[in-house]
Amino acid sequence: MNTVHPVILGEMPSLSKLYLNAAAQAARRRVLGTDNGSSLPDASHEVRGVTADVAKLTAYQHLIGETASDVLPAGYIHALTFPLAMSVMNRDDFPLPLLGMIHLSNHVEQRSPVLFTEPLDVTARVENLRGHRTGTQLDVVAEVRGAGAPDIRWIGVSTYLAKGMFLPGIDKPSAHNGQTRHEEFKAPDPTGLWQLGVDTGRAYAAVSGDFNPIHLSVLSAKALGMRRSIAHGMYLASRALADVGPARGESFGWDVEFDAPVFLPGRVALDISTAQGLHGAWQGSDFVAWNPRSGRRHFRGSVTEL
């Protein structure tokens, strides 16, 4: 693997500017038809001394269903690192169009609790460009450390798909490697039911800063080819994590795979099943969510002991 060149940014990039820039870039590429090659940028972006805004943190915690404690929820740290991750995908030498990318899955390791009072060093890079049966996928890796400290406290790997984009030299995976397997989903008895209002996307955008138009309103979503607005994947995954509750302890792994999008407004049925060891100690929780009417699966995942 190539050496990664660190690029240190003075402050957390603005997501709204990144989205505008991505839209301009998409238009430019459409007109000029530029070839961006078939390799990922080997740069990692870093911002040092990042701190959480306590008012936003509290609003996030209340929206997601976490108690407003001083510990940053793992999903909040994802939101904190998201603009930096986007800035790597917004580079001119990034080979895929940022807008319209689909969040396939997310893996987080919360290795030790992070307090809102702590200044943090955040890095983000992209890696593992590979084929998908419907396009090209890659991983965005974000890492969080205490300012000036070597240990990774939180690491997130987000896998994105550029649907319909096939880059030269990147092969589609062969059918037998598992990605094309369609397993039957049979909904279990639910342990919970979420009523998501039409403003769910706007509410999460306000606390996470992710104002992607596909989440904001029917009109803005239609402009991007969706039939209605959809809930943020990380909103759903973060609510599932909150639902697992404090039994998960302060360090844990958190995985989610996204399936059918959740159109707003809508209802989501959820099942959380927890494995307990001796004396009822928590070992891990699996979660799965589906549309209670159609039975289509929206997402599934797990929270596990690290």
């Binding site: 407003a68 404690s69 100690a281």
Partner: protein, 455 residues
């Protein structure tokens, strides 16, 4: 039964077990320790935090301090005075949001500012009776995140609208709505039966007992000075966990002086015949915060290798007929304490610490004044003369509500944990366990008082 099932055996202490229906021997209920978050002036650091957030934060700090992760506690009781209707199960929700076992039962209690102390007494009684081995008492209040209700007019329209079956019926109901119905209904500190605020009620008592401005300012000055000294000495290190960036009560003024206090303008009692003496400096501000107290049987504390600071000896509630001024709104403890001490064969001289909640400096001084009054002792308390005098050097020695602030339901837990720690440190006095008295006045003309003894 599976290994993660709930044990069906009863309390561990065999002395509490007896034949069905038989009278059980009482055992002791001890205070193991406490934890609270720093109290914040309303509109400050906890503005956006809900009661549930703050209670959970205080609870999680207690759990961490005493290693109670995944522990099934006998019962948790707490409450809030200003409470949203959606918080009907506030304490149980806080337990579910905490690291305690989800199989820990909980209930809410509300007795105005006496809420916190009443949870301590009620749970201590359950432990004494052998019904539970461990308990967490507590309280929380947010004046910042206070509930606001819709007006009575709008509420009736909304309820009738829900019951209406046809469109014409709905329109008919809606037509009753008037612009004034849209004004929200915020909670106030006024007494429902008199319309007077708590401060105005105290001002009546203050004037009745001729409590001077200087004496009130001195109480307030001592409160700030004592609380600051306690923080500097590290006294609160094992009684408090930081929250939302606060490590000390934000109302504490380390640099306050009697001269500064003397410059403040009176805010209560300005329309009375007597001189107005109650200022923002000698009255408690609206505050946000939460507190918890861990209680246990001695056997439970020993089995968990936890400290035993003090026993909850006894408690007493009283109420006064304040509505037409027979007694002052906040004077109920003046009646509760003499009854409690008589029952336990004690006098004021038998106490090493007095924790008299400083709702207002004048509340403390009025209480002391009536106890020192011969006539009041004879005619109202049925004694031969004055009830007694306390040694001021033993009063609120680590500060109280004037400095710390007063998140209504959280004050009882703050005082109980503070006093238990002070008593444990003092140990024995004159060959007997050190003894402390807690006195808390409450809205509605109520008061709850308690005796703790060192272990």
């Amino acid at each position: 039964m599976s290994i993660d099932g709930q044990s069906a055996t009863g309390p561990q202490d065999s002395s509490a077990l007896a034949a069905p229906g038989a009278t059980r021997t009482l055992r002791r209920a001890v205070i193991v320790g406490g934890n609270r978050i720093p109290f914040a002036r309303s509109g400050g650091a906890y503005t956006k935090s809900s009661n549930q957030d703050m209670l959970t934060a205080a609870l999680d700090g207690l759990i961490a301090r005493f290693g109670l992760q995944d522990e099934r506690i006998g019962e948790v009781a707490a409450g809030a005075v200003l409470k949203h209707s959606r918080d009907f199960n506030l304490t149980r929700e806080a337990v579910l949001g905490s690291a305690l076992s989800a199989e820990t039962p909980a209930y809410d209690l509300q007795q105005a500012c006496a809420t916190g102390l009443e949870t301590v007494l009620g749970l201590a009684n359950k432990i004494k009776l052998g019904q539970i081995d461990s308990a967490i008492a507590g309280g929380v209040d947010s004046a910042s995140d206070a509930p606001i209700a819709v007006s009575e007019g709008l509420r009736e329209v909304l309820l009738d609208l829900n019951r209406a079956k046809s469109l014409p019926q709905r329109l008919q109901v809606l037509s009753r709505l008037r612009p004034k119905d849209l004004a929200p209904d915020a909670p106030g500190t006024g007494e429902p039966r008199t319309g007077l605020s708590m401060g105005e009620h105290q001002a009546l008592t203050t004037a009745q007992w001729n409590i001077s401005r200087a004496a009130q300012d001195e109480i307030s000055y001592n409160s700030h000075r004592n609380l600051a000294a306690a923080y500097d000495a590290g006294f609160f290190d094992d009684l408090l966990t930081p929250y939302r960036g606060l490590t000390r009560d934000s109302n504490l003024r380390v640099d306050t002086t009697l001269e500064k206090l003397a410059t403040l303008k009176p805010v209560f009692g300005k329309s009375l015949g007597a001189e107005a003496t109650m200022t923002a400096g000698n009255s408690t501000p609206l505050t946000d915060g939460a507190s918890t107290v861990l209680l246990a049987s001695e056997a439970w504390a020993d089995a968990h290798d936890l400290p035993k600071l003090a026993t909850v000896v006894d408690g007493e509630a009283a109420a006064v007929d304040f509505v037409h001024g027979k007694d002052g709104l906040l004077m109920a403890p003046a009646f509760a304490v003499p009854r409690l001490l008589a029952r336990n064969g004690l006098t004021l001289a038998d106490f090493d610490f007095f924790e008299i909640h400083e709702a207002f400096a004048a509340t403390v001084l009025s209480t002391l004044a009536v106890w020192e009054d011969e006539e009041f002792g004879r005619s109202r308390l049925g004694l031969d003369g004055a009830f007694g005098t306390i040694d001021r050097a033993r009063l609120n020695v680590n500060g109280s509500s004037l400095a710390a602030g007063h998140p209504f339901a959280a004050t009882g837990g703050r005082i109980a944990a503070t006093l238990a720690k002070m008593l444990h440190a003092k140990g024995t006095e004159n060959g007997r366990p050190a003894r402390g008295l807690i006195s808390i006045c409450a809205a509605g003309g109520q008061g709850v008082v308690a005796i703790l003894e060192a272990l």
